[in-house]
């Protein structure tokens, strides 16, 4: 609702801007209008799609706002499931952990749409009898919205006023759109002290000179803007606040850019953490974000996995990661994005190390790796992107360099241009549907591997009058363990509880009335027995929210 009102005003501003400046090159997007199916969608449009799902599937989908950000945007949770959701396993699907990763939110929303609407997933919807999905489609709505604003730049921080450069002043040096194209790109300044040079294979691309190869730099390179606070740095403290994906407790990067006053300081991070801690049924978390442990599984490191404050995945959890990685590749295939480690303070690692759940992450898409180039010219992701875009007929990737007068560099040759914001991390929108389809089918097949508790081989043996021994095996018939090994360590992960409930005339001669069990691996079982004096019926109940509950009645 807010931006629908604001949009016409934005156009006026942009138009005024265009009139005022001497604007020469043509191949640049002149407005940030998004044409629904042609482009990524803003917060209001995503919210509308979520509301539609909830409205059209009232028995399966429920939309709630966990909180409102400082930028007055909802943190949505879409719950898909039916029946007693709290007491059966659930998967959390999280998008928008980085505000500049538009694709992540889109994949999360499209997962929900395909699950609920797509005829191809008709049979998978039966899964909802046994498993639920908590979908958090956009954890950085304040930042993500920058794509749709009159000045577009890759933003990660929320709307909290923040002193990003720790100089005591808040937001005193933002980006400036010097060439008036609505996009923040780069600026290059011809200067003998510069460390940058034009790429020998494509003069549009700037690369760092390699003195060891005899190359000499002749450009300074900064992001587009003025040094408003005259501190020698450009655009180091704009309107961005705290980055969601740097605000979590595992390996928290204290006192660094965008990490906030302390871990979990923001409404967004608190909202999701508070929800997840009470959601005992979540057995795994899938994050669409910069980390990727699906294209390649993490590797086991004995030391990291077993130090007091462990920083590496535990041995058996790595095996599950391997299994999931194989599954991912069967769905996503050759287009699988690049494997990337987690970052300090991110959500993906928090979910494993401090929330104690299996945690998987993928970008959904990344610029395909180029064939090993034998040439001696410098490697450049930007060059790779331009070539890939040419091959795939993708436009609006590059803003041609354009001369400007820059007050901080009087009399110097200054040009603004370069790779457009967002295009390095987000594919053209036309590619999203097929990416979303592959990821949806992966998530659903993964969900079917959930832990599932059962009681099997139940035997009652009469030892004498009114004396019976009951034996039973607690079996996990799923593929996932009932808890990750990290979850066995984390206090707030509910363990599997085995309880025998006797009637008043019975008493327990041997065996435990209540037992808190360790994790049971997939397709494995534990045997227990009880010696009971007395008659009549009793019941045995076992399980946890994340593996489901199983209850049997026995009559003696």
């Amino acid at each position: 609702m807010q931006s629908q009102v604001v949009y016409p005003v934005q156009y006026i501003f942009i138009a005024l801007f265009l009139l005022q400046i001497n604007f020469s090159t043509a191949a640049i997007r002149t407005t940030n209008q998004n044409n629904n199916e042609q482009d990524y969608q803003d917060h209001n449009q995503l919210s509308q799609r979520l509301a539609n799902l909830s409205k059209n599937h009232p028995s399966l989908a429920n939309l709630q706002s966990l909180t409102k950000t400082d930028g007055s945007k909802d943190i949505w949770l879409l719950t898909i499931g039916k029946g007693d959701i709290a007491n059966k396993p659930a998967l959390a699907v999280v998008g928008g952990v980085e505000g500049d990763h538009l694709l992540g939110s889109e994949l999360a929303v499209q997962f929900a749409e395909k699950l609920l609407n797509d005829p191809a997933f008709e049979s998978e919807r039966d899964l909802l009898n046994e498993i639920s999905f908590y979908i958090f489609p956009d954890m950085s709505p304040d930042a993500r919205e920058q794509y749709f604003m009159p000045i577009r730049y890759e933003r990660r921080g929320n709307a909290r006023p923040t002193n990003l450069d720790r100089d005591g002043k808040v937001g005193e040096d933002p980006y400036d759109d010097l060439n008036g194209d609505g996009l923040i790109t780069m600026m290059r300044i011809k200067d003998p002290t510069g460390k940058w040079m034009r790429h020998p294979d494509d003069e549009r691309i700037m690369v760092r000179a390699r003195p060891e190869k005899g190359e000499k730099g002749n450009y300074l390179l900064f992001t587009e803007g003025l040094d408003q606070d005259k501190d020698g740095q450009f655009n180091e403290d704009g309107e961005e606040g705290v980055f969601f994906n740097r605000n979590f407790t595992f390996n928290y990067p204290v006192f660094t850019t965008g990490t906030g006053a302390h871990a979990v300081s923001e409404k967004e991070s608190r909202a999701i953490a508070d929800f997840l801690f009470q959601a005992k049924n979540v057995f795994a978390v899938i994050t669409f974000g910069p980390a990727n442990n699906l294209t390649k599984p993490l590797t086991y490191n004995d030391k990291d996995a077993n130090t007091k404050i462990f920083t590496g995945w535990k041995e058996h959890d790595i095996k599950i990661n391997q299994q999931l990685s194989n599954l991912y590749k069967t769905h996503v295939g050759k287009q699988a994005p690049k494997a990337e480690p987690g970052q300090a303070g991110d959500f993906f690692q928090w979910a494993y190390f401090h929330y104690g759940r299996f945690s998987f992450s993928t970008q959904g898409w990344s610029l395909p790796e180029t064939e090993n180039d034998e040439s001696d010219t410098p490697a450049s992701q930007e060059l790779n992107l331009i070539r890939w875009a040419e091959d795939h007929d993708v436009s609006d990737i590059f803003v041609p360099w354009q001369s400007i007068d820059h007050p901080d560099f009087p009399g110097k040759e200054v040009e603004v241009g370069g790779i457009a914001p967002f295009v390095m991390k987000n594919p053209p929108y036309t590619m999203v549907d097929s990416i979303a389809l592959k990821h949806a089918s992966f998530i659903l097949e993964m969900a079917a591997l959930r832990p599932k508790i059962d009681l099997v081989n139940i035997e009652t043996e009469k030892l004498g009058t009114n004396l019976h021994r009951i034996t039973a095996e607690v079996m996990n018939t799923g593929s996932f363990p009932t808890a990750s090994q990290s979850g066995e360590v984390i206090r707030w992960v509910q363990k599997t509880v085995l309880r025998i409930n006797l009637n008043e005339s019975q008493n327990l001669v041997s065996g435990k009335p209540v037992e808190v069990l360790g994790a049971i691996r997939g397709h494995s079982a534990l045997k227990r027995s009880w010696l009971i004096r007395g008659k009549g019926s009793l019941n045995i109940r076992v399980g946890s929210e994340a593996s489901g509950f199983r209850e049997v009645q026995i009559s003696l």
């Binding site: 005591g168 006053a261 871990a263 979990v264 608190r270 508070d274 404050i309 984390i490 435990k512 009335p513």
Partner: protein
């Protein structure tokens, strides 16, 4: 007659303007004991403890009697919805308190450590009752502000005082957690079997027991020697196995978590740091304190009261963080802590992780390392105080026999619940008895005021040494051709710097701003050596010179070259040093 009138006038004059010098005379029916207000307006007995409701009555009395000195506000709500009451104590009729160097005091983050509250409140009371009666106190309230939160954990205090407990419960708040992990919450807490409000011990006669009654004091159980049998076995704290899982008292309503493991620096989860909750400031009480402290960057020093053991603790809580406790900061702590040891006999100045235990996510580290606030935690009460003897090994650092001796001869056995028979549903015929919950960690009545006073004296010394900025020189010299050289020398006459070393390292707080007004500033610079004319020019915005720090017992010199001007003045604006101005 005239003479009598003159005498009366003299007496009135003396009492109203210089009361201190006349305290050799009784006032009403009271004669002054030194160091204590002779007839305080707010009457408080400092030999008992107050419930939340009792405390609130004292707060109300204080704001009624001293409206210009005390303000009361709620800075948030506890988990159970109780207000977190904060007293702002200063001379409210002068500079706004936000512009004065501030000192933070809190008590009873651990609810069972109840005297932390009375010591905090004694401080507030003492300050207001001595304002304009004692020069040191008057200066403190004119120059500084005290933010005092007597109870950080009111839910736990309520539970401790109004429900059955041991001396060690409840430590955290009243969020029920699943202590035994069986999926049920708070299903097997203590049972006050004899109904006295104290959870004491259970013992049972046993022919092959390992315990016997002590010969000198039969109340005391002693372990038999190797190879012997005694007559008793000990069955733990009063309770029954309510959920039939074979364990007693293993899942209480006040679940085990620790608000002092819930702070933002180096927070670690429960498997690393027992007692940690979900993430930093995941508890409402600590979050409210965080909000207040972050909103008040003028806080330069802090004291957080705990019990027990007679310690004056500084951080860091972990060995790894020694690297961030910088030498210049430790020098300040040492200067304060060394005097503290002298002021409070039996207390030792210690470093948390080295001398007590490792704490991740503790309040002391958040205050020092993330806010740059010089902070001590005092562990109130020590067994030294039983007989003014250096503690030996044993129960709370004292020999067990001494504890019984102290109770018997100084408390006349008030601390002990005598062993009495009880028919236990699971253990059968047992006896219940032992020390009360208010013994061991908490000062007995006659020892409370002295401990409160000595700890307060140390804390006031600490507060006195928060930065005090003074413009010690402000001069102008004509340079000809319409130019003047203006010099300002700003001194910090106390031990604590405007910015701790760690503050500078992490750029926690903005710099001090020293600005010149009333003339056109052409250039501004910090003078590094006045004699040799070594200066550091600030090219950008020279009228407001940014000074990263004014160290304790030190000064900075600023020089401006200005053109024209009249009514030239200088303003020093320091987050922790306050705001002062001076004109030429």
């Amino acid at each position: 007659m005239k003479i009598i009138l003159l005498i009366i006038t003299w007496i009135i004059f003396t009492f109203t303007t210089n009361a201190q010098s006349a305290d050799g005379f009784a006032v009403d029916n009271f004669f002054k004991a030194l160091g204590t207000p002779v007839n305080p307006k707010v009457q408080v007995s400092w030999n008992r403890y107050y419930t939340n409701e009792g405390l609130h009555e004292i707060y109300q009395d204080m704001i009624r009697e001293y409206p210009d000195l005390v303000r009361l506000e709620s800075i948030g709500k506890s988990f159970e919805g109780r207000d977190l009451w904060l007293l702002t104590v200063t001379n409210h009729t002068s500079t706004p308190h936000q512009q004065k160097p501030a000192f933070w005091i809190d008590g009873s983050i651990h609810a069972n450590e109840i005297q932390a509250t009375e010591v905090s409140l004694y401080t507030a009371w003492y300050l207001v009752e001595n304002y304009q009666k004692n020069r040191f106190i008057t200066d403190l309230l004119d120059e500084k502000v005290f933010y005092i939160l007597p109870v950080m954990n009111p839910d736990g205090r309520h539970n401790f005082m109004r429900k059955p407990n041991t001396a060690h419960s409840s430590r955290g708040g009243m969020i029920t957690v699943d202590d035994d992990g069986d999926g049920e919450y708070g299903e097997d807490g203590f049972d006050d079997l004899n109904g006295d409000g104290h959870i004491t011990m259970m013992r049972r006669r046993a022919p092959h027991g390992q315990w016997r009654e002590d010969q000198d004091d039969p109340r005391r159980m002693t372990r038999v020697k190797q190879g012997e049998f005694g007559e008793w076995e000990l069955l733990g704290y009063e309770g029954i196995d309510r959920d039939g899982d074979g364990m007693v008292n293993e899942d209480r309503k006040d679940g085990y978590y620790d608000p002092n493991r819930d702070w933002g620096w180096n927070w670690q989860p429960d498997y690393v740091q027992r007692g940690a909750y979900h993430y930093p400031f995941s508890l409402p009480e600590t979050r409210a304190v965080r909000d207040f402290i972050m909103d008040h960057p003028n806080i330069a020093g802090a004291q957080t009261y705990h019990n027990t053991g007679g310690m004056i603790l500084r951080g860091p809580g972990t060995a790894k963080d020694e690297q961030y406790y910088l030498r210049e900061d430790i020098n300040v702590y040492d200067a304060l802590g060394d005097l503290g040891e002298k002021l409070i006999p039996g207390y030792n100045y210690l470093t948390l992780h080295k001398d007590l235990y490792t704490v991740y996510g503790g309040q002391i580290d958040w205050l020092h390392l993330m806010r740059g606030i010089f902070t001590f935690t005092n562990e109130l009460f020590t067994s030294y105080m039983y007989f003014n003897e250096t503690p030996q090994r044993g129960w709370f650092g004292s020999r067990s026999a001494d504890v019984y001796l102290f109770d018997k001869h100084l408390l006349f056995s008030d601390a002990f619940v005598p062993w009495e028979d009880f028919d236990h549903p699971q253990y059968g015929s047992i006896q219940i008895g032992g020390f009360k919950k208010n013994f061991g960690r908490i000062n007995p009545g006659f020892m409370l005021e002295q401990d409160a006073h000595r700890n307060m004296a140390f804390t006031l010394y600490h507060a006195h040494h928060t930065p005090k900025l003074e413009i010690v020189e402000f001069t102008a010299k004509d340079l000809g051709s319409g130019l003047q050289e203006v010099i300002a020398v700003v001194a910090n006459t106390r031990l604590i710097p405007t910015h701790a070393g760690v503050d500078l390292k992490f750029q926690i707080e903005r710099p001090n701003y020293i600005s010149l007004q009333g003339a056109r500033v052409l250039a501004g610079m910090t003078v590094i050596n006045r004699d040799l004319n070594l200066v550091q020019e600030q090219i950008n915005n020279p009228s407001v010179i940014q000074i990263d720090n004014i160290p304790g017992m030190s000064s900075v010199t600023i020089k401006w070259i200005v053109e024209g001007g009249n009514n030239i003045s200088v303003k020093v604006d320091s987050p922790k040093g306050g705001i002062i101005t001076e004109s030429l």
